[in-house]
C-alpha cells in the first residue's frame, strides 16, 4: 500500500430519479408497448437492476415512424431554420443544466468512470447540439446548393459505448437539417436516451420530432427496414453494419463501424506524452471505442523505453467503482462483451503473444477486465487484426516510416490513426498515406463537434460532425 491512498470519493446517486419502468417515447409522450415485452437494464459494475424498459415490437416501430412522419410533414420540415435552431439551443442548454444527472446516469448504466461521463461525454453532447443549432438557419451556406432540403424521417441505431454522445451525434444534425427521427439506443444502455426524451419534453420540442424506442436487435431491424424511413444512420459493429447496408434498400445510409487503429510512436516522439496518448488511446472508456488505438506501432529503437514507461504508467491506473471520481478504468459494459474480450485475449496467448496485465484488484461483482498489453504480436495474430473493443493493447514494432505505413494500413478497417513525432514534416507525410478517416498528431481520441469523423473501408461510410456531417441529413 502506498503512502498516499485516496479515500473513496463517490459521486452522489441522489441527483438521478430512476423510474421503475420506462415506456416508449412516441409522439411526445411516454407510452406502453403494444406487446408486453420488457427487459431489464443493469449496472455492469454491480449487476444491480436499474430499471425495466419496454421492448418495442414492429407495431411500436410503426407507430413511432408514423409519428415522426406526421411531425416531419406538418411541423418540422416547414419550420424556418432559425426556429428549429431555438429548440436545439434550448436542448443544449438543458443538457448543460442537467449535466450531473446525465453523467451519473450514464456511468450507472454504462459502467464508464464518472470522470469521463462528466468531463467528456456530456459536455461534448451539449457541444454537438450547440454546434448544429448554429447551422440550422445557415444550410444554404454549407456548400450543398442554394436551398438544401431534408431527407425526411431518419431511423437511427446507436451503440452502448457513448450512449448520450452518440445520440447527440445522430439527433443534432438530423434535426438541424429539418429531419425528424426515430432513435433506438443500445439494449444495455437505454437510460440516458430516455432521460433525453424528458429533456425534449422540457424543451417543448413539438411531438413526434424525436421518438425514442427501446429494444434489442429485432427492434433495430424493424426500424432500419421500415418502409417509412428515408435515412438510416447506424453506429456499431461492422457485422451488423453490413447487414444494415444490405437490408436498407434504396434508403440513404451512413455507417460508423469498427476499427483497429494504429497508434504510431516514432523514436523522436515526446515520450511522456506519447505514453499518455497510448493510455488514452486504448484504455479510455475501457477500450470500448471504435477509434481506439488498439494497435501500438513503436519504432524498434525506442521499444524497450516506451514499453517500460507504459507499464509503469499502467500500474497507476485506478480501476473500480465507476461513480468514484478518482476512477480511471470502469466496468466492461456487458457479460457478452467481457466474454468476447476474454476469448480474443486467450487467442492472443494461444497464438504466441505475451500477455501482461496491470496489477489491479478486480471487484467481485460486475464485469471487469484489467488493462492488458500484448507484446510479441505478429501482424497475423487475431489480436492484431480483429477489433477487441476492450482494454487490450497489441504492441508491434516497425523500423522505417514506410514500414509503419504498410503495417498501419494492413487492416480491413480505416477509422483512425495516431502519429507521435516531434517532426512536423513527418506528420504530414504520414497523414497523407494513412488510410484512416481521422489522423491524430501527438494526441489521440480528441473529439470536437466542428471536426468530421468517419471511416474508410470496413469502418463505414459517411461523416459525422462538422459541416460534412450535414450532408448525411440533406438531399444532396
Amino acid at each position: 500500500m502506498g503512502k498516499f491512498e485516496y479515500a473513496p470519493a463517490p459521486e452522489s446517486r441522489a441527483v438521478v430519479a430512476l423510474r421503475e419502468s420506462y415506456g416508449l417515447f412516441i409522439d411526445g409522450d411516454f407510452v406502453p408497448g403494444k406487446d408486453d415485452g420488457v427487459f431489464k437494464t443493469i449496472s455492469p459494475a454491480t449487476e444491480e437492476v436499474l430499471a425495466e424498459v419496454t421492448e418495442a415490437s414492429p407495431a411500436d416501430v410503426d407507430r413511432a415512424v408514423s409519428a415522426a412522419r406526421r411531425a416531419y410533414e406538418q411541423t418540422w420540415s416547414v419550420m424556418p431554420g432559425r426556429e428549429r435552431a431555438k429548440y436545439l439551443f434550448r436542448i443544449a442548454r438543458i443538457i448543460q443544466e442537467r449535466a450531473r444527472e446525465l453523467a451519473v446516469l450514464e456511468s450507472l448504466d454504462n459502467g464508464k468512470p464518472i470522470r469521463e461521463s462528466r468531463d467528456v461525454d456530456i459536455p461534448l453532447a451539449a457541444a454537438h447540439f450547440f454546434y448544429y443549432a448554429g447551422w440550422a438557419d445557415k444550410l444554404e451556406h454549407a456548400g450543398f446548393g442554394p436551398d438544401p432540403q431534408p431527407l425526411g424521417v431518419a431511423g437511427q441505431v446507436i451503440p452502448w459505448n457513448f450512449p448520450l454522445l452518440m445520440l447527440a451525434w445522430k439527433i443534432a444534425p438530423a434535426l438541424a437539417c429539418g429531419n425528424t427521427v426515430v432513435l433506438k439506443p443500445a439494449e444495455t444502455t437505454p437510460l440516458t436516451a430516455l432521460l433525453f426524451a424528458e429533456i425534449c419534453q422540457q424543451a417543448d420540442l413539438p411531438p413526434g420530432v424525436v421518438n425514442i424506442i427501446t429494444g434489442a436487435g429485432p427492434t433495430g431491424r424493424a426500424l432500419v427496414t421500415h418502409p417509412g424511413i428515408d435515412k438510416v444512420a447506424f453506429t456499431g459493429s461492422t457485422e451488423v453494419g453490413k447487414e444494415i447496408a444490405r437490408a436498407a434498400g434504396r434508403k440513404k445510409v451512413t455507417l460508423e463501424l469498427g476499427g483497429k487503429a494504429a497508434n504510431i510512436v516514432f523514436a523522436d516522439a515526446p515520450v511522456d506524452q506519447a505514453v499518455e496518448g497510448i493510455v488514452n488511446g486504448i484504455f479510455f472508456n475501457q477500450g470500448h471505442v471504435c477509434c481506439a488505438g488498439s494497435r501500438l506501432l513503436v519504432q524498434e529503437s525506442v521499444y524497450d523505453q516506451v514499453l517500460e514507461s507504459l507499464r509503469r504508467r499502467l500500474a497507476t491506473l485506478r480501476l473500480g467503482d465507476p461513480l468514484d471520481k478518482n476512477t480511471d478504468v470502469g466496468a466492461i459494459n456487458s457479460p457478452a462483451q467481457l466474454a468476447k474480450i476474454r476469448e480474443l485475449s486467450d487467442s492472443g496467448e494461444a497464438e504466441g503473444a505475451e500477455r501482461w496485465s496491470a496489477p489491479c484488484e478486480l471487484p467481485v461483482k460486475g464485469f471487469w477486465f484489467p488493462p492488458t498489453v500484448f507484446t510479441g504480436v505478429s501482424p497475423a495474430h487475431r489480436i492484431a487484426r480483429e477489433e477487441i473493443f476492450g482494454p487490450v493493447l497489441s504492441v508491434l514494432t516497425f523500423r522505417t516510416p514506410a514500414e509503419a505505413i504498410a503495417k498501419a494500413n494492413s487492416t480491413p478497417y480505416g477509422l483512425s490513426a495516431g502519429v507521435w513525432t516531434d517532426k512536423g514534416s513527418r506528420i504530414l507525410w504520414m497523414a497523407a498515406r494513412l488510410r484512416a478517416g481521422v489522423v491524430w498528431a501527438n494526441t489521440f481520441n480528441k473529439f470536437d463537434p466542428t471536426s468530421p469523423f468517419g471511416g474508410y473501408k470496413e469502418s463505414g461510410y459517411g461523416r459525422e460532425g462538422g459541416r460534412h456531417g450535414l450532408e448525411a441529413y440533406l438531399d444532396v
Binding site: 498516499f4 479515500a7 470519493a9 506524452q273 471520481k325 501527438n442
Partner: protein, 318 residues
Amino acid sequence: MNEAEGEPVTTVTIAGPDLRRFLDGLPGVDSVGAEARAAVLASRSIKTTAKRLALDLAISMIDLTTLEGQDTPGKVRAMCAKATHPDPTDPTVPMVAAVCVYPDLAEVAAAEVKGTGIHVASVATGFPSGRASLEVKLADVRSAIAAGADEVDMVIDRGAFLAGKYQLVFDEIAAVHEVCSGKAHLKVILETGELVTLDNVRRASWLAMLAGADFIKTSTGKVSPAATLPVTLVMLEAVRDYRESHGRQVGVKAAGGIRTAKDAIRYLVLVNETVGDDWLDPDWFRLGASSLLNDLLMQRTKLATGRYSGPDYFTLDS
C-alpha cells in the same frame, strides 16, 4: 541524503559541445499533452482520511518563506515561531520542513530554529535575478552557509541558458555545489517563468542535475508565472528519469503561487502519480510558500471539527 545508498556517485563527463548535444537531444515535451495530463490529475478528488493525510504531509513539506526588502529580524523570528508551532493550540500539527530567508537573515533564522530539526534555507547567488559575477555569487553562498544556512537556494543564469551557453550555467552550478559540498544542501532554482517552454524546463532540469543539484526548484516567486502543475510535472519526470539513468535521487521544490490547501494537494497528487512514494517525503519534495500554511491549518481544523474558523483564529506568519 542526496545519494541513494549503495549507488555509485556519477562523475559527469559530458562537457562543451557534448553537453549541448545531450541537452538538445533530450526527448521533447508536448505542452498540450503535458497540460492535459496535469489537468486530469488536478481533478482528483481527495476526501476524508486521504485529505487529512495530505494536509499534514503538505505542512511538513513547506519551506516557510519570507523574501522581501522589508524583512527584519523581528519578522524572521515571528516566522520561525510559526514554523516550529504552526498552530499553538494543536500540538499534533507537524512542523514545516524549513524556513527560507535572504542570507543576511539566515543567522537570525538559524538561532530561532536551532535544535528543532527545521532546516534553514537561504537564497543566494544574487537572488532573484542572478545577475552578478561568479565571485560575488560564491561569496553570497559562503556568507549564507557561514550564517547557519544548511540549504542553499541558488538561481541559475537564465540569460546564459537562453543564449545557449549551457556550459556556463553548468560551471556556475558546479562551483556553487563545490562550496556547498558537505555543508549545505543545494537547491537550484530554474525560474521556469523565464525559461517559458517545457522543453527548456526539461533541459534546465537535466543541466542542474548533471551539475550536482540536490534539488531542482521551479521559481523564485518573483516572476509570474511561478510554479505551475505542468512545469512541476515535467520536473518530476526529469528527476525520475535521471535516477533511472544515473542512480541518484534528486528532490523537487515547487515554489511561488501555491496559496491554498487545494493547490498544495494537487501538487501532492502530481508527485504521487508521477514519481510515487519515494518522493512523498519532505526530504524529496518541498513547497515554497508563506500564506499556504494558514489555509492548510484552516482546512485541517475544518476536517477535525466540521466547522470553518475565520482567519482571525490562526496566527499571522509574522
